[in-house]
Protein backbone atom coordinates (compact mmCIF):
# COMPACT_ATOMS: atom_id res chain seq x y z
CA UNK A 1 0.00 0.00 0.00
CA UNK A 2 2.97 2.28 0.62
CA UNK A 3 3.91 2.05 -3.03
CA UNK A 4 0.38 2.78 -3.99
CA UNK A 5 0.27 5.95 -1.96
CA UNK A 6 3.69 6.96 -3.24
CA UNK A 7 2.39 6.90 -6.77
CA UNK A 8 -0.41 9.18 -5.72
CA UNK A 9 1.96 12.14 -5.90
CA UNK A 10 0.83 12.58 -9.42
CA UNK A 11 -0.31 16.12 -10.24
CA UNK A 12 -3.69 14.86 -11.28
CA UNK A 13 -4.03 12.87 -8.09
CA UNK A 14 -3.57 16.05 -6.12
CA UNK A 15 -6.37 17.58 -8.10
CA UNK A 16 -8.50 14.62 -7.32
CA UNK A 17 -7.75 14.91 -3.62
CA UNK A 18 -8.64 18.53 -3.80
CA UNK A 19 -11.83 17.73 -5.61
CA UNK A 20 -12.60 15.21 -2.95
CA UNK A 21 -12.18 17.83 -0.28
CA UNK A 22 -14.49 20.02 -2.21
CA UNK A 23 -16.88 17.18 -2.52
CA UNK A 24 -16.87 16.82 1.22
CA UNK A 25 -17.85 20.42 1.53
CA UNK A 26 -20.63 19.84 -0.88
CA UNK A 27 -19.15 21.37 -4.01
CA UNK A 28 -19.08 18.36 -6.28
CA UNK A 29 -21.32 15.90 -4.54
CA UNK A 30 -24.27 18.14 -5.03
CA UNK A 31 -24.75 16.30 -8.28
CA UNK A 32 -24.91 12.88 -6.61
CA UNK A 33 -26.39 13.60 -3.26
CA UNK A 34 -28.51 16.69 -3.40
CA UNK A 35 -30.08 15.78 -0.09
CA UNK A 36 -26.80 16.22 1.66
CA UNK A 37 -26.08 19.57 0.10
CA UNK A 38 -27.38 21.76 2.86
CA UNK A 39 -25.58 19.82 5.50
CA UNK A 40 -22.35 19.61 3.54
CA UNK A 41 -22.37 23.29 2.86
CA UNK A 42 -22.10 24.26 6.45
CA UNK A 43 -19.48 21.76 7.55
CA UNK A 44 -15.81 22.26 7.36
CA UNK A 45 -13.51 19.39 6.47
CA UNK A 46 -12.47 18.82 10.04
CA UNK A 47 -16.04 18.63 11.07
CA UNK A 48 -16.63 16.04 8.35
CA UNK A 49 -13.76 13.98 9.63
CA UNK A 50 -15.07 14.31 13.16
CA UNK A 51 -18.52 13.15 12.08
CA UNK A 52 -16.90 10.34 10.14
CA UNK A 53 -14.98 9.28 13.21
CA UNK A 54 -18.21 9.08 15.17
CA UNK A 55 -19.81 6.92 12.52
CA UNK A 56 -16.66 4.83 12.37
CA UNK A 57 -16.69 4.17 16.09
CA UNK A 58 -20.27 2.95 15.98
CA UNK A 59 -20.21 0.91 12.77
CA UNK A 60 -16.64 -0.13 12.04
CA UNK A 61 -14.35 0.08 15.06
CA UNK A 62 -15.39 -3.29 16.51
CA UNK A 63 -13.59 -5.07 13.65
CA UNK A 64 -11.15 -2.56 12.25
CA UNK A 65 -9.93 -1.21 15.61
CA UNK A 66 -10.59 2.14 17.22
CA UNK A 67 -7.95 3.95 15.15
CA UNK A 68 -8.43 1.95 11.97
CA UNK A 69 -5.31 -0.10 12.73
CA UNK A 70 -7.18 -3.35 12.17
CA UNK A 71 -7.74 -6.39 14.39
CA UNK A 72 -8.11 -10.11 14.02
CA UNK A 73 -11.61 -9.48 12.67
CA UNK A 74 -10.80 -6.89 10.06
CA UNK A 75 -7.83 -5.46 8.17
CA UNK A 76 -6.14 -2.15 8.82
CA UNK A 77 -7.77 0.75 7.02
CA UNK A 78 -4.76 3.04 7.15
CA UNK A 79 -3.99 4.08 3.62
CA UNK A 80 -6.88 2.31 1.91
CA UNK A 81 -8.22 5.68 0.87
CA UNK A 82 -11.62 7.21 0.42
CA UNK A 83 -12.33 5.19 -2.73
CA UNK A 84 -12.22 1.94 -0.80
CA UNK A 85 -14.59 3.29 1.84
CA UNK A 86 -16.99 4.61 -0.75
CA UNK A 87 -16.99 1.27 -2.58
CA UNK A 88 -17.30 -0.96 0.47
CA UNK A 89 -19.97 1.05 2.27
CA UNK A 90 -22.01 2.27 -0.66
CA UNK A 91 -22.36 -1.25 -2.06
CA UNK A 92 -23.42 -2.44 1.40
CA UNK A 93 -20.48 -4.82 1.75
CA UNK A 94 -19.37 -2.93 4.87
CA UNK A 95 -20.21 -3.12 7.64
CA UNK A 96 -20.14 -6.88 7.21
CA UNK A 97 -22.16 -9.33 9.21
CA UNK A 98 -20.23 -10.96 12.02
CA UNK A 99 -20.48 -14.41 10.52
CA UNK A 100 -19.92 -14.51 6.81
CA UNK A 101 -19.48 -17.13 4.17
CA UNK A 102 -16.43 -17.29 1.98
CA UNK A 103 -16.68 -13.63 1.11
CA UNK A 104 -18.57 -10.49 2.03
CA UNK A 105 -21.36 -9.90 -0.42
CA UNK A 106 -23.20 -6.89 -1.70
CA UNK A 107 -26.27 -5.92 0.31
CA UNK A 108 -28.47 -2.95 1.07
CA UNK A 109 -26.49 0.12 2.00
CA UNK A 110 -27.56 1.53 5.36
CA UNK A 111 -25.73 4.88 5.14
CA UNK A 112 -26.59 8.05 3.29
CA UNK A 113 -24.08 9.30 0.75
CA UNK A 114 -23.26 12.17 3.14
CA UNK A 115 -22.43 9.74 5.90
CA UNK A 116 -20.32 7.66 3.54
CA UNK A 117 -18.42 10.77 2.57
CA UNK A 118 -17.80 11.54 6.24
CA UNK A 119 -16.56 8.02 6.86
CA UNK A 120 -14.39 8.22 3.77
CA UNK A 121 -12.94 11.54 4.86
CA UNK A 122 -12.09 10.08 8.23
CA UNK A 123 -10.39 7.00 6.75
CA UNK A 124 -8.57 9.14 4.20
CA UNK A 125 -7.26 11.26 7.09
CA UNK A 126 -5.60 8.15 8.58
CA UNK A 127 -3.28 7.69 5.61
CA UNK A 128 -3.24 8.75 1.98
CA UNK A 129 -4.96 6.41 -0.46
CA UNK A 130 -7.00 6.50 -3.65
CA UNK A 131 -9.73 9.09 -3.52
CA UNK A 132 -13.24 8.79 -4.80
CA UNK A 133 -13.23 9.18 -8.61
CA UNK A 134 -15.08 11.97 -10.30
CA UNK A 135 -17.69 11.62 -12.96
CA UNK A 136 -15.11 13.07 -15.32
CA UNK A 137 -12.97 10.00 -14.65
CA UNK A 138 -15.53 7.25 -15.03
CA UNK A 139 -17.98 8.98 -17.38
CA UNK A 140 -18.26 7.88 -20.99
CA UNK A 141 -16.89 11.07 -22.60
CA UNK A 142 -13.88 10.44 -24.76
CA UNK A 143 -13.72 6.72 -24.04
CA UNK A 144 -12.47 4.24 -26.64
CA UNK A 145 -14.90 1.34 -26.40
CA UNK A 146 -12.88 -0.97 -28.64
CA UNK A 147 -9.73 -0.52 -26.58
CA UNK A 148 -11.86 -0.95 -23.46
CA UNK A 149 -13.00 -4.32 -24.78
CA UNK A 150 -9.45 -5.48 -25.30
CA UNK A 151 -8.51 -4.33 -21.81
CA UNK A 152 -11.60 -5.94 -20.36
CA UNK A 153 -10.71 -9.28 -21.95
CA UNK A 154 -7.13 -9.02 -20.72
CA UNK A 155 -7.78 -7.88 -17.17
CA UNK A 156 -11.37 -8.57 -16.17
CA UNK A 157 -13.09 -11.30 -18.22
CA UNK A 158 -11.08 -14.13 -16.66
CA UNK A 159 -13.02 -13.64 -13.41
CA UNK A 160 -16.09 -11.62 -14.37
CA UNK A 161 -16.91 -13.38 -17.69
CA UNK A 162 -17.09 -11.90 -21.23
CA UNK A 163 -20.02 -9.71 -20.46
CA UNK A 164 -19.43 -9.18 -16.77
CA UNK A 165 -21.82 -11.85 -15.51
CA UNK A 166 -19.41 -13.01 -12.81
CA UNK A 167 -17.80 -16.35 -12.18
CA UNK A 168 -16.44 -18.79 -9.65
CA UNK A 169 -13.24 -18.46 -7.62
CA UNK A 170 -11.78 -21.00 -5.23
CA UNK A 171 -13.57 -22.39 -2.19
CA UNK A 172 -16.93 -20.71 -2.64
CA UNK A 173 -15.57 -17.28 -3.42
CA UNK A 174 -16.74 -15.64 -6.59
CA UNK A 175 -16.29 -12.64 -8.81
CA UNK A 176 -19.64 -10.84 -8.69
CA UNK A 177 -21.96 -10.06 -11.55
CA UNK A 178 -21.25 -6.53 -12.78
CA UNK A 179 -24.75 -5.99 -14.15
CA UNK A 180 -26.18 -2.75 -12.83
CA UNK A 181 -23.12 -1.81 -10.78
CA UNK A 182 -22.55 1.95 -10.57
CA UNK A 183 -19.61 2.94 -12.84
CA UNK A 184 -18.15 4.81 -9.91
CA UNK A 185 -17.99 1.61 -7.89
CA UNK A 186 -16.42 -0.26 -10.77
CA UNK A 187 -13.78 2.41 -10.99
CA UNK A 188 -13.19 2.24 -7.24
CA UNK A 189 -13.00 -1.54 -7.30
CA UNK A 190 -10.32 -1.42 -9.98
CA UNK A 191 -8.38 1.15 -7.99
CA UNK A 192 -8.60 -0.46 -4.60
CA UNK A 193 -8.99 -4.20 -5.22
CA UNK A 194 -11.67 -5.06 -2.66
CA UNK A 195 -11.36 -8.40 -0.85
CA UNK A 196 -9.74 -10.96 -3.15
CA UNK A 197 -9.90 -8.86 -6.25
CA UNK A 198 -6.45 -7.62 -7.21
CA UNK A 199 -6.09 -3.90 -7.58
CA UNK A 200 -5.37 -2.22 -10.89
CA UNK A 201 -3.67 1.00 -9.82
CA UNK A 202 -3.27 3.90 -12.22
CA UNK A 203 0.38 3.04 -12.64
CA UNK A 204 -0.45 -0.19 -14.43
CA UNK A 205 -3.99 0.49 -15.65
CA UNK A 206 -4.17 4.17 -16.48
CA UNK A 207 -7.13 6.39 -15.80
CA UNK A 208 -7.90 6.38 -19.48
CA UNK A 209 -7.75 2.56 -19.50
CA UNK A 210 -10.27 2.44 -16.68
CA UNK A 211 -12.56 4.85 -18.46
CA UNK A 212 -12.37 2.70 -21.59
CA UNK A 213 -13.18 -0.45 -19.65
CA UNK A 214 -16.20 1.15 -17.99
CA UNK A 215 -17.46 2.43 -21.33
CA UNK A 216 -17.06 -1.04 -22.88
CA UNK A 217 -18.84 -2.68 -19.99
CA UNK A 218 -21.68 -0.22 -20.37
CA UNK A 219 -21.88 -1.03 -24.08
CA UNK A 220 -22.14 -4.77 -23.55
CA UNK A 221 -23.88 -5.08 -20.22
CA UNK A 222 -26.52 -2.50 -19.50
CA UNK A 223 -30.25 -2.29 -19.78
CA UNK A 224 -29.87 -0.77 -23.24
CA UNK A 225 -27.44 -3.37 -24.54
CA UNK A 226 -28.77 -4.95 -27.67
CA UNK A 227 -28.80 -8.75 -27.83
CA UNK A 228 -29.52 -8.97 -31.55
CA UNK A 229 -30.14 -12.70 -31.57
CA UNK A 230 -32.78 -12.74 -28.86
CA UNK A 231 -32.79 -13.99 -25.29
CA UNK A 232 -29.34 -13.89 -23.79
CA UNK A 233 -29.82 -16.96 -21.56
CA UNK A 234 -27.84 -15.37 -18.78
CA UNK A 235 -24.86 -14.60 -20.98
CA UNK A 236 -23.13 -17.66 -19.58
CA UNK A 237 -22.18 -19.36 -22.81
CA UNK A 238 -22.64 -22.95 -23.92
CA UNK A 239 -23.88 -24.43 -20.64
CA UNK A 240 -27.15 -22.55 -20.63
CA UNK A 241 -27.38 -22.85 -24.39
CA UNK A 242 -27.06 -26.61 -24.08
CA UNK A 243 -29.69 -26.76 -21.36
CA UNK A 244 -31.99 -24.66 -23.49
CA UNK A 245 -31.43 -26.88 -26.53
CA UNK A 246 -32.30 -29.96 -24.50
CA UNK A 247 -35.27 -28.65 -22.58
CA UNK A 248 -36.92 -26.28 -25.01
CA UNK A 249 -35.45 -27.40 -28.33
CA UNK A 250 -35.58 -31.14 -28.08
CA UNK A 251 -38.44 -30.88 -25.58
CA UNK A 252 -40.59 -28.99 -28.09
CA UNK A 253 -39.70 -31.41 -30.87
CA UNK A 254 -40.61 -34.41 -28.73
CA UNK A 255 -43.91 -32.76 -27.86
CA UNK A 256 -44.51 -32.30 -31.59
CA UNK A 257 -43.51 -35.93 -32.23
CA UNK A 258 -46.00 -37.11 -29.62
CA UNK A 259 -48.72 -35.23 -31.46
CA UNK A 260 -47.64 -36.56 -34.85
CA UNK A 261 -47.57 -40.17 -33.67
CA UNK A 262 -50.61 -40.12 -31.39
CA UNK A 263 -53.76 -41.91 -32.47
CA UNK A 264 -56.47 -39.61 -33.69
CA UNK A 265 -59.48 -39.46 -31.40
CA UNK A 266 -61.97 -42.18 -32.25
CA UNK A 267 -65.63 -41.54 -32.69
CA UNK A 268 -67.58 -42.15 -29.52
CA UNK A 269 -69.33 -45.48 -29.54
CA UNK A 270 -73.02 -44.85 -29.63
Amino acid sequence: MKKLSARRRHPLAAVVVLLFALAATGGLYAAFAPASKAQADETSQSLTIKEGKKLYEVGCASCHGTGGQGSSDGPSLVGVGAAAVDFQVATGRMPAATSQGPQVVKKKNIYTQAQIDQLAAYIASLGAGPSVPTKQQYGPDGADIGKGGELFRTNCAQCHNFTGKGGALTKGKFAPDLTGVDPKHIYEAMQTGPQNMPSFPDTTLSEKNKKDIIAYLHAINSSETEQPGGMELGGLGPVTEGLFAWIFGLGALIAVAVWVAARTAKAKKS
Binding site: A6, R7, T170, M197, P198, S199, T204, T225, M231, A265
Partner: protein
Protein backbone atom coordinates in the same frame (compact mmCIF):
# COMPACT_ATOMS: atom_id res chain seq x y z
CA UNK B 1 -64.58 -62.59 -18.22
CA UNK B 2 -67.40 -60.17 -18.57
CA UNK B 3 -67.40 -56.87 -20.33
CA UNK B 4 -69.75 -55.30 -17.77
CA UNK B 5 -67.04 -54.38 -15.26
CA UNK B 6 -64.60 -52.96 -17.74
CA UNK B 7 -64.12 -49.29 -16.98
CA UNK B 8 -64.54 -46.37 -19.32
CA UNK B 9 -60.88 -45.69 -19.90
CA UNK B 10 -60.41 -48.93 -21.76
CA UNK B 11 -60.66 -48.23 -25.43
CA UNK B 12 -64.01 -49.26 -26.79
CA UNK B 13 -62.24 -51.12 -29.54
CA UNK B 14 -60.32 -53.24 -27.13
CA UNK B 15 -63.34 -53.78 -24.98
CA UNK B 16 -65.37 -55.03 -27.83
CA UNK B 17 -62.57 -57.10 -29.12
CA UNK B 18 -61.81 -58.59 -25.73
CA UNK B 19 -65.35 -59.78 -25.60
CA UNK B 20 -65.09 -61.36 -28.99
CA UNK B 21 -61.72 -62.78 -28.22
CA UNK B 22 -62.90 -64.54 -25.12
CA UNK B 23 -65.65 -66.23 -26.96
CA UNK B 24 -63.16 -67.77 -29.33
CA UNK B 25 -60.35 -67.82 -26.79
CA UNK B 26 -57.69 -70.38 -26.89
CA UNK B 27 -58.72 -72.33 -23.83
CA UNK B 28 -55.24 -73.74 -23.61
CA UNK B 29 -53.42 -70.42 -23.59
CA UNK B 30 -55.02 -67.31 -22.11
CA UNK B 31 -51.89 -65.35 -23.06
CA UNK B 32 -52.16 -66.09 -26.75
CA UNK B 33 -52.11 -63.24 -29.22
CA UNK B 34 -55.72 -62.25 -29.88
CA UNK B 35 -54.78 -60.59 -33.17
CA UNK B 36 -55.16 -57.03 -34.31
CA UNK B 37 -58.08 -55.21 -32.73
CA UNK B 38 -60.77 -54.24 -35.25
CA UNK B 39 -60.52 -50.83 -36.80
CA UNK B 40 -62.38 -48.07 -35.05
CA UNK B 41 -63.67 -45.10 -37.00
CA UNK B 42 -62.68 -41.55 -36.35
CA UNK B 43 -65.24 -38.79 -36.26
CA UNK B 44 -63.97 -37.68 -39.65
CA UNK B 45 -64.60 -41.15 -41.09
CA UNK B 46 -68.28 -41.13 -40.29
CA UNK B 47 -69.18 -37.46 -40.13
CA UNK B 48 -68.61 -35.55 -43.35
CA UNK B 49 -69.00 -32.23 -41.53
CA UNK B 50 -66.10 -33.13 -39.25
CA UNK B 51 -64.07 -34.13 -42.30
CA UNK B 52 -64.90 -30.78 -43.91
CA UNK B 53 -63.76 -29.03 -40.75
CA UNK B 54 -60.48 -30.90 -40.90
CA UNK B 55 -60.06 -29.98 -44.51
CA UNK B 56 -60.63 -26.32 -43.70
CA UNK B 57 -58.08 -26.46 -40.86
CA UNK B 58 -55.49 -28.00 -43.18
CA UNK B 59 -56.17 -25.42 -45.86
CA UNK B 60 -56.01 -22.64 -43.28
CA UNK B 61 -52.63 -23.86 -42.10
CA UNK B 62 -51.27 -23.94 -45.65
CA UNK B 63 -52.67 -20.45 -46.23
CA UNK B 64 -51.06 -19.12 -43.06
CA UNK B 65 -47.80 -20.55 -44.32
CA UNK B 66 -48.15 -18.66 -47.59
CA UNK B 67 -48.90 -15.45 -45.73
CA UNK B 68 -45.90 -15.99 -43.48
CA UNK B 69 -43.63 -16.37 -46.49
CA UNK B 70 -44.99 -13.11 -47.86
CA UNK B 71 -44.28 -11.66 -44.42
CA UNK B 72 -40.72 -12.96 -44.62
CA UNK B 73 -40.13 -11.26 -47.94
CA UNK B 74 -41.70 -8.03 -46.77
CA UNK B 75 -39.60 -8.05 -43.59
CA UNK B 76 -36.45 -8.74 -45.58
CA UNK B 77 -37.09 -5.81 -47.85
CA UNK B 78 -38.41 -3.26 -45.38
CA UNK B 79 -36.62 -3.75 -42.06
CA UNK B 80 -33.14 -2.20 -41.84
CA UNK B 81 -30.57 -4.73 -40.69
CA UNK B 82 -29.43 -2.58 -37.79
CA UNK B 83 -32.84 -1.78 -36.38
CA UNK B 84 -33.24 -2.73 -32.76
CA UNK B 85 -36.59 -3.21 -31.04
CA UNK B 86 -37.57 -3.95 -27.48
CA UNK B 87 -39.67 -7.09 -27.15
CA UNK B 88 -40.88 -8.01 -23.72
CA UNK B 89 -39.57 -10.18 -22.08
CA UNK B 90 -36.69 -10.88 -24.45
CA UNK B 91 -35.05 -7.47 -24.43
CA UNK B 92 -33.48 -5.27 -27.07
CA UNK B 93 -33.17 -7.48 -30.12
CA UNK B 94 -32.62 -7.16 -33.82
CA UNK B 95 -35.96 -6.48 -35.46
CA UNK B 96 -34.86 -8.18 -38.65
CA UNK B 97 -33.73 -11.39 -37.00
CA UNK B 98 -36.92 -11.56 -35.00
CA UNK B 99 -39.21 -10.90 -37.95
CA UNK B 100 -37.41 -13.20 -40.37
CA UNK B 101 -37.15 -15.99 -37.83
CA UNK B 102 -40.76 -15.89 -36.78
CA UNK B 103 -42.14 -15.65 -40.30
CA UNK B 104 -39.87 -18.42 -41.55
CA UNK B 105 -40.69 -20.53 -38.53
CA UNK B 106 -44.40 -20.00 -39.01
CA UNK B 107 -44.25 -20.70 -42.74
CA UNK B 108 -42.42 -23.97 -42.16
CA UNK B 109 -44.35 -25.06 -39.10
CA UNK B 110 -47.72 -24.50 -40.75
CA UNK B 111 -46.78 -26.65 -43.74
CA UNK B 112 -45.78 -29.40 -41.34
CA UNK B 113 -48.81 -28.99 -39.13
CA UNK B 114 -51.11 -28.98 -42.15
CA UNK B 115 -49.60 -32.14 -43.59
CA UNK B 116 -49.72 -33.96 -40.29
CA UNK B 117 -53.27 -32.87 -39.54
CA UNK B 118 -54.27 -34.06 -42.99
CA UNK B 119 -52.62 -37.42 -42.37
CA UNK B 120 -54.10 -37.80 -38.94
CA UNK B 121 -57.67 -36.88 -39.68
CA UNK B 122 -58.35 -37.50 -43.34
CA UNK B 123 -56.01 -40.20 -44.60
CA UNK B 124 -56.88 -43.77 -43.83
CA UNK B 125 -55.84 -44.80 -40.35
CA UNK B 126 -56.39 -48.51 -40.82
CA UNK B 127 -53.44 -50.31 -39.33
CA UNK B 128 -51.90 -52.77 -41.71
CA UNK B 129 -49.66 -55.68 -40.95
CA UNK B 130 -46.74 -56.34 -43.24
CA UNK B 131 -44.94 -59.67 -43.27
CA UNK B 132 -41.33 -59.82 -42.34
CA UNK B 133 -38.90 -62.08 -44.07
CA UNK B 134 -35.73 -63.37 -42.54
CA UNK B 135 -32.73 -61.20 -43.38
CA UNK B 136 -30.45 -64.17 -43.93
CA UNK B 137 -30.63 -65.85 -47.32
CA UNK B 138 -32.11 -69.32 -47.76
CA UNK B 139 -29.65 -72.26 -47.68
CA UNK B 140 -29.96 -72.64 -51.47
CA UNK B 141 -29.05 -69.03 -52.13
CA UNK B 142 -26.22 -69.30 -49.64
CA UNK B 143 -24.88 -72.41 -51.34
CA UNK B 144 -25.15 -70.77 -54.75
CA UNK B 145 -23.26 -67.67 -53.65
CA UNK B 146 -20.52 -69.69 -52.05
CA UNK B 147 -20.21 -71.82 -55.14
CA UNK B 148 -20.10 -68.75 -57.39
CA UNK B 149 -17.43 -67.20 -55.25
CA UNK B 150 -15.33 -70.33 -55.29
CA UNK B 151 -15.75 -70.54 -59.02
CA UNK B 152 -14.63 -66.93 -59.42
CA UNK B 153 -11.70 -67.42 -57.11
CA UNK B 154 -10.71 -70.51 -58.97
CA UNK B 155 -10.93 -68.82 -62.34
CA UNK B 156 -8.70 -66.00 -61.11
CA UNK B 157 -6.24 -68.61 -59.85
CA UNK B 158 -5.45 -66.36 -56.93
CA UNK B 159 -5.00 -69.36 -54.69
CA UNK B 160 -2.65 -71.10 -57.06
CA UNK B 161 -0.49 -68.23 -58.21
CA UNK B 162 1.00 -67.25 -54.91
CA UNK B 163 3.50 -64.87 -56.41
CA UNK B 164 0.79 -62.69 -57.89
CA UNK B 165 -1.14 -62.74 -54.66
CA UNK B 166 1.80 -61.78 -52.49
CA UNK B 167 3.01 -58.99 -54.73
CA UNK B 168 -0.50 -57.60 -55.17
CA UNK B 169 -1.08 -57.39 -51.44
CA UNK B 170 2.35 -55.87 -51.08
CA UNK B 171 1.63 -53.22 -53.66
CA UNK B 172 -1.78 -52.41 -52.17
CA UNK B 173 -0.32 -52.21 -48.71
CA UNK B 174 2.47 -49.87 -49.77
CA UNK B 175 0.61 -47.46 -51.98
CA UNK B 176 -1.19 -45.59 -49.13
CA UNK B 177 2.23 -44.71 -47.75
CA UNK B 178 2.51 -42.08 -50.47
CA UNK B 179 -0.54 -40.42 -49.01
CA UNK B 180 0.91 -40.55 -45.53
CA UNK B 181 4.18 -39.10 -46.79
CA UNK B 182 2.33 -36.20 -48.32
CA UNK B 183 1.11 -35.20 -44.88
CA UNK B 184 4.65 -34.52 -43.73
CA UNK B 185 4.57 -30.88 -44.75
CA UNK B 186 1.52 -30.12 -42.67
CA UNK B 187 3.89 -28.54 -40.24
CA UNK B 188 7.49 -28.27 -39.12
CA UNK B 189 8.91 -30.67 -36.56
CA UNK B 190 8.65 -29.45 -32.99
CA UNK B 191 12.37 -29.31 -32.39
CA UNK B 192 12.95 -27.30 -29.26
CA UNK B 193 10.47 -24.55 -30.07
CA UNK B 194 8.16 -25.57 -27.22
CA UNK B 195 11.03 -24.89 -24.81
CA UNK B 196 11.76 -21.31 -25.76
CA UNK B 197 9.91 -18.06 -25.55
CA UNK B 198 10.77 -14.51 -26.57
CA UNK B 199 12.04 -13.76 -23.09
CA UNK B 200 15.77 -13.25 -22.86
CA UNK B 201 18.24 -11.52 -20.63
CA UNK B 202 17.66 -7.79 -20.66
CA UNK B 203 14.21 -7.82 -22.26
CA UNK B 204 12.00 -5.27 -20.57
CA UNK B 205 8.62 -6.23 -19.14
CA UNK B 206 6.10 -4.22 -21.11
CA UNK B 207 2.71 -3.55 -19.53
CA UNK B 208 -0.05 -5.05 -21.69
CA UNK B 209 -2.44 -2.22 -20.84
CA UNK B 210 -0.32 0.85 -21.41
CA UNK B 211 2.31 -0.66 -23.73
CA UNK B 212 4.97 0.98 -21.53
CA UNK B 213 7.84 -0.78 -19.78
CA UNK B 214 7.12 -1.42 -16.13
CA UNK B 215 9.08 -0.06 -13.21
CA UNK B 216 9.06 -1.73 -9.81
CA UNK B 217 7.27 1.21 -8.19
CA UNK B 218 4.39 0.81 -10.65
CA UNK B 219 3.52 -2.55 -9.21
CA UNK B 220 1.65 -2.30 -5.93
CA UNK B 221 1.14 -5.11 -3.45
CA UNK B 222 -2.16 -6.77 -4.23
CA UNK B 223 -2.23 -5.57 -7.81
CA UNK B 224 -2.24 -7.71 -10.93
CA UNK B 225 -0.51 -6.77 -14.16
CA UNK B 226 0.07 -8.59 -17.40
CA UNK B 227 3.20 -8.11 -19.40
CA UNK B 228 4.73 -9.04 -22.72
CA UNK B 229 8.34 -8.97 -23.82
CA UNK B 230 9.71 -5.72 -25.15
CA UNK B 231 9.47 -5.48 -28.92
CA UNK B 232 6.45 -7.73 -29.37
CA UNK B 233 3.59 -5.78 -30.94
CA UNK B 234 0.02 -6.82 -31.56
CA UNK B 235 0.44 -6.14 -35.26
CA UNK B 236 3.38 -8.55 -35.57
CA UNK B 237 2.93 -11.50 -37.87
CA UNK B 238 3.86 -13.94 -35.13
CA UNK B 239 2.17 -12.10 -32.27
CA UNK B 240 -0.33 -14.85 -31.53
CA UNK B 241 2.27 -17.62 -31.49
CA UNK B 242 4.65 -15.64 -29.32
CA UNK B 243 2.14 -14.32 -26.83
CA UNK B 244 0.78 -17.86 -26.51
CA UNK B 245 4.06 -18.67 -24.75
CA UNK B 246 5.39 -15.39 -23.46
CA UNK B 247 2.35 -13.94 -21.67
CA UNK B 248 3.37 -12.97 -18.18
CA UNK B 249 1.48 -12.37 -14.96
CA UNK B 250 3.07 -9.94 -12.51
CA UNK B 251 2.12 -9.56 -8.89
CA UNK B 252 3.78 -8.14 -5.84
CA UNK B 253 3.91 -9.89 -2.50
CA UNK B 254 5.38 -8.81 0.79
CA UNK B 255 8.78 -10.52 0.63
CA UNK B 256 8.15 -12.25 3.98
CA UNK B 257 5.00 -13.80 2.52
CA UNK B 258 7.01 -15.66 -0.09
CA UNK B 259 7.43 -19.19 1.20
CA UNK B 260 9.50 -20.62 -1.63
CA UNK B 261 13.20 -19.83 -1.52
CA UNK B 262 13.76 -19.88 -5.26
CA UNK B 263 10.70 -17.74 -5.84
CA UNK B 264 12.12 -15.14 -3.51
CA UNK B 265 15.50 -15.26 -5.25
CA UNK B 266 13.95 -14.81 -8.64
CA UNK B 267 11.75 -11.93 -7.52
CA UNK B 268 12.56 -8.28 -7.29
CA UNK B 269 11.51 -6.60 -4.05
CA UNK B 270 8.59 -9.02 -3.80
CA UNK B 271 7.61 -8.59 -7.45
CA UNK B 272 7.24 -12.00 -9.04
CA UNK B 273 6.59 -12.85 -12.66
CA UNK B 274 4.89 -16.12 -13.56
CA UNK B 275 3.85 -17.55 -16.89
CA UNK B 276 0.20 -16.71 -17.61
CA UNK B 277 -0.20 -19.97 -19.50
CA UNK B 278 -1.62 -22.80 -17.41
CA UNK B 279 0.56 -25.89 -17.22
CA UNK B 280 -2.52 -28.06 -17.63
CA UNK B 281 -3.74 -27.40 -21.15
CA UNK B 282 -2.63 -23.85 -21.76
CA UNK B 283 -5.49 -21.56 -20.77
CA UNK B 284 -4.39 -18.07 -19.78
CA UNK B 285 -4.62 -18.56 -16.06
CA UNK B 286 -5.17 -15.32 -14.23
CA UNK B 287 -7.94 -15.50 -11.66
CA UNK B 288 -5.71 -14.07 -8.95
CA UNK B 289 -6.99 -13.81 -5.41
CA UNK B 290 -4.88 -11.15 -3.80
CA UNK B 291 -5.63 -12.17 -0.20
CA UNK B 292 -4.93 -15.89 -0.57
CA UNK B 293 -2.28 -15.43 -3.30
CA UNK B 294 -3.99 -18.25 -5.16
CA UNK B 295 -4.50 -18.15 -8.87
CA UNK B 296 -7.22 -20.21 -10.45
CA UNK B 297 -7.59 -21.35 -14.04
CA UNK B 298 -11.04 -20.57 -15.45
CA UNK B 299 -10.98 -23.56 -17.79
CA UNK B 300 -10.37 -26.52 -15.51
CA UNK B 301 -9.91 -24.96 -12.07
CA UNK B 302 -6.27 -25.81 -11.51
CA UNK B 303 -5.22 -23.69 -8.55
CA UNK B 304 -1.68 -22.51 -7.90
CA UNK B 305 -0.21 -20.85 -4.83
CA UNK B 306 1.78 -17.87 -6.06
CA UNK B 307 3.35 -17.33 -2.66
CA UNK B 308 4.80 -20.83 -2.71
CA UNK B 309 6.53 -21.22 -6.03
CA UNK B 310 3.17 -21.39 -7.85
CA UNK B 311 2.81 -25.03 -6.85
CA UNK B 312 -0.44 -26.80 -7.71
CA UNK B 313 -2.82 -26.94 -4.77
CA UNK B 314 -5.96 -28.14 -6.57
CA UNK B 315 -7.16 -29.36 -9.92
CA UNK B 316 -5.79 -31.22 -12.90
CA UNK B 317 -2.54 -29.35 -13.57
CA UNK B 318 0.52 -31.50 -13.11
CA UNK B 319 3.24 -29.01 -12.26
CA UNK B 320 3.88 -25.50 -11.02
CA UNK B 321 3.67 -22.41 -13.20
CA UNK B 322 7.10 -21.51 -14.56
CA UNK B 323 8.59 -18.40 -13.00
CA UNK B 324 10.55 -15.79 -14.92
CA UNK B 325 13.63 -14.45 -13.23
CA UNK B 326 13.45 -10.68 -13.12
CA UNK B 327 15.53 -7.74 -12.03
CA UNK B 328 15.91 -4.04 -12.70
CA UNK B 329 18.09 -2.46 -15.36
CA UNK B 330 20.17 0.68 -15.01
CA UNK B 331 17.28 2.92 -15.92
CA UNK B 332 15.10 1.42 -13.23
CA UNK B 333 12.90 -0.68 -15.48
CA UNK B 334 11.96 -4.28 -14.76
CA UNK B 335 13.76 -6.69 -17.04
CA UNK B 336 13.98 -10.42 -17.57
CA UNK B 337 17.18 -12.08 -16.47
CA UNK B 338 16.81 -14.84 -19.03
CA UNK B 339 14.21 -17.06 -20.63
CA UNK B 340 12.00 -19.37 -18.59
CA UNK B 341 14.11 -22.23 -17.33
CA UNK B 342 11.46 -24.81 -18.21
CA UNK B 343 8.92 -25.02 -21.03
CA UNK B 344 5.78 -22.98 -20.41
CA UNK B 345 2.27 -24.24 -20.97
CA UNK B 346 0.98 -27.80 -21.19
CA UNK B 347 3.30 -30.70 -20.54
CA UNK B 348 4.37 -32.93 -23.41
CA UNK B 349 6.31 -36.14 -23.86
CA UNK B 350 9.71 -34.57 -24.48
CA UNK B 351 9.34 -32.08 -21.66
CA UNK B 352 11.09 -34.27 -19.13
Amino acid sequence: MSSQDIPEENLPAEQEHAHVAVSVADEENPFADPGLPPHEHRIQDIDERAAKRSERVVALLFTVSMLATVGFIVSYVTIPHDKSIFVFPIGHISALNFALGLTLGTALFCIGAGAVHWARTLMSDVEVADERHPIAASPEVRAKVHADFKQGAKESAIGRRGLIRTTMFGALALVPLSGVMLLRDLGPLPGTSLRHTLWAKGKLLVNMNTNQPLRPEDVAVGSLTFAKPEGLEETDEEFQNEIAKAALMIIRLQPDNIKDKRELQWSHEGIVAFSKICTHVGCPISLYEQQTHHVLCPCHQSTFDLSDGARVIFGPAGHALPQLRIGVNDEGYLQALGDFEEPVGPAFWERG
